[in-house]
Amino acid sequence: MSFHPPYHLRLNKAIDRFILIDTIIKLERINGLALANYTYYGLGGPYLEEFRILSELCPEMRMVSIEKDLDTLKRQRFHLPCKTLKLKNTDMKSFLINYDPRDEKSIFWLDYTNFNLSAIEDFQIILGKVATNSIVKITLQAMPKDYIGEEKAETFRMEFGEFMPDPSIDPPLYKKDFAKLLQDMLQIATQQILPANLDTVYQPLTSFYYADGANMFTLTGIVCKRSERKNIRNLFKNWRFANLNWAQPKHIDIPFLSTKERLHLQKHLPVKQKNTGRRLMQALGYKIDKNTSAQLMKQYADFYRYYPYFVKAEP
């Protein structure tokens, strides 16, 4: 039987998911992209969490879940959140071969739990096929410790050399730098498949790295007309989570706080002054971690709007 961690309970991933929803809402609200004209494609796992949230956001939107494991598919059938969701029993590669959207806009989330060449190729295939104004998000495992040592570094170079900005380097050791390397590699992948002499471009919107266990990197962007890029950048330029120029990905590392602590902190939010973390720490009156308490509080201040509440409920 396939083992699945409780994806829906993963705090940092939950925040990333809500930021995707916010991104979609922003695009719809500001740019007039009618969600009902989109089809969402994802690898929803057994609980189909993002499908559930999306169906609440826009019940008319068509959705397709891609799942190769038959048992997981059965669990998905059990968790089916709405009628507009179609469950496909296939792998991503086979799905993409037959994917022919014509002018129909898509939202793709390539939510991988590993990192290999095939993931980058899938990303490129999608960028080459989707209609203008489609949103493409990719999540990859970003574990620098997997590539320590000369032999592993060489394997990394052999596998990803074509996408590395400097194909002679060893992959970096720090998570922050490794996330940036993956982002640079995806940027090169986008420039290869949508070179500047074509009139569509992949405009990044957000990018994050986080760990709920394994370290992950995630990038969201929109395939738009080059002439429209400036407008899209303008829509997002004042949003604190936006990453419109392939800059350093932002870190999501939200602390686990009790409901009581959160309700207490709520009274002090948002903090407009500097030293947000220290101010919230003072408001709480104690440290929640020996060394990184202020940073964690800053993380809370940044992302608290997306922080899910987990409560005991009667079925």
Binding site: E159, P167, S168, A196
Partner: protein, 473 residues
């Protein structure tokens, strides 16, 4: 209409139109190759000035810096500059007669590389050069390109350079970039720079390894030269490369070596590569060097003998086999194409050398096939050796006994290694492979190793070993 007897038949104008050169010359060369052409000119400068040093790092201290952005492209070197006595040839289209003898070791013979690279990128160019006491600038303006009418249409004005350079060298700045080029230097800069970096790291690997430095937008390029496994173990058989060397009647020196860069792949590695591409880059295949510069890199086609005359077609199982052929001599005698990034497959010299390439390659394809299914055992032999650069192989093989190959069309000397073969040529082992449901494999893996992620082949082998122990009781 005039009648024919009224027409004065005069000469017709058959002079070339500049825009023809600009359009046609640049069409069959990629931007990356055009930039490599400019790098070739830098290295030719070193050789021409005869300032190349001796030893393992003869190019040490020489450097080419490349910088580009959406407005300009610049390449600056300290490689000796363009001598004033060459000015009439350096800027002519094609190899003008009367040109001083080609310096041995250079690769430029067609006289188009510089111009083609400039016209590939833009319509405005300033070349500043300093060679000894001569310092001058040549400027090509868009108006010059458009001018086909005036008497001096093909003349380019030269003026003395305003400033002196610290060292003799040349700086080329190209502006008024074509829109298609400007976007690659701007919006696509990340992918273009990565591609150019990789091409320089591979095609210039041998020169950089010998001390030359290439800097692209501030990053110094690290070379990726081929290194072949060489075992110094006196006991034979052992893993060493095949070597062939010769000097032709017209003075071209040839050094050819082929061998293993790594252990031969396991069956699992081969199988997984068959299902989906696993590596975006790998170093298997043939690299051909002409005067230190790679004109072909890791080729795995019939062009280099794969799939011809007894050599199998390239396949993942041969991922460990790599070879290098070095041609050195007068550029006009070398088997290159005009773009300098290709082999003239019909060259008689190359066809003769290709025979030797196939002969060497067969030793290693045969070894790979003989050890098929026993990659772990073969790995032990390969790991006994050390990966050596081509220069190191030349040095090491000096100590070995070469045989003379007079009977072949291309006489020379060769060293044929004796590679270890399995004890019995007919392997006593047979491969067992079967497929099972992934959940069942995880289940057995968890049962045997308390870990459901163990490689399926390990799980299968463990099952067999357990039953074998039972059967032997």
């Amino acid at each position: 209409m005039k009648s024919t007897d009224q027409i004065q038949y005069e000469s017709v104008d058959a002079s070339p139109v500049k825009s023809f050169f600009v359009l046609m010359l640049t069409r069959d060369i990629s931007l990356e190759d055009a930039i490599l052409d400019l790098l070739d000119n830098c290295v030719d400068g070193i050789l021409r000035s005869k300032i190349k040093q001796r030893g393992a790092k003869p190019y040490k201290g020489y450097k080419a810096e490349i910088e580009f952005n959406k407005h300009t492209f610049m390449i600056r070197d300290n490689c000796g500059g363009i001598p004033w006595n060459l000015h009439d040839y350096a800027f002519r289209m094609g190899p003008a007669s009367g040109r001083p003898t080609v310096t041995p070791g250079t690769v430029g013979i067609y006289g188009i590389g510089l111009k083609r690279a400039i016209f590939k990128m833009g319509r405005d160019c300033l070349i500043s050069t300093q060679n000894g006491e001569h310092r001058y600038e040549v400027e090509i303006k868009p108006e010059w390109i458009d001018d086909d009418e005036t008497e001096n249409a093909w003349k380019i004005p030269v003026k003395p350079a305003k400033r002196s350079m610290k060292e003799d060298g040349t700086t080329i700045v190209i502006g008024d970039l074509y829109p298609g080029i400007a976007v690659r230097f701007n919006e696509d800069i990340k992918s273009f720079q990565s591609e150019l970096y990789r091409m320089v790291a591979t095609h210039y690997a041998y020169i950089i390894d010998k001390g030359f430095e290439v800097v692209i937008n501030g990053d110094s390029v690290q070379p990726r030269p081929t290194r072949l496994i060489f075992s110094s173990d006196k006991k034979t058989p052992n893993v060493q490369p095949f070597v062939f060397k010769t000097k032709t009647e017209d003075g071209v020196e040839v050094f050819l070596t082929v061998g293993f860069t790594r252990p031969i792949p396991s069956q699992d590695e081969i199988n997984s590569e068959q299902v989906e591409k696993r590596y975006s880059t790998h170093d298997a295949g043939w690299t051909i060097l002409c005067n230190d510069r790679a004109v072909l890199y890791c080729d795995r086609t019939e062009l280099t003998g794969w799939g011809e005359a007894g050599v199998p077609r390239y396949h993942t199982q041969f991922i460990a086999i790599s070879g290098v052929v070095e041609f050195r001599g007068d550029a006009s005698k070398l088997p290159t194409t005009t773009t300098k990034r290709g082999i003239d497959a019909s060259s008689q010299l190359y066809l003769q050398v290709k025979n030797k390439m196939r002969e060497g390659m067969q030793i290693f394809t045969n070894y790979t096939n003989k050890w098929k299914g026993q990659a772990d055992e073969a790995k032990k032999h390969i790991l006994r050796g050390k990966p050596l650069s081509i220069e190191e192989i030349k040095e090491e093989t000096e100590k070995l006994t070469f045989t003379t190959t007079k009977q072949t069309a291309l006489p020379g000397k060769q060293y044929k290694p004796l590679l270890p073969l399995p004890k019995k040529l007919e392997s006593q082992q047979r491969r067992i492979s079967f497929t099972k449901n992934i959940d069942d494999i995880k289940n057995v893996s968890d049962y045997l190793f308390q870990d459901e992620t163990v490689d399926p082949s390990v799980v299968g082998e463990k099952c067999f070993d357990l039953i074998l122990n039972e059967a032997r009781k």
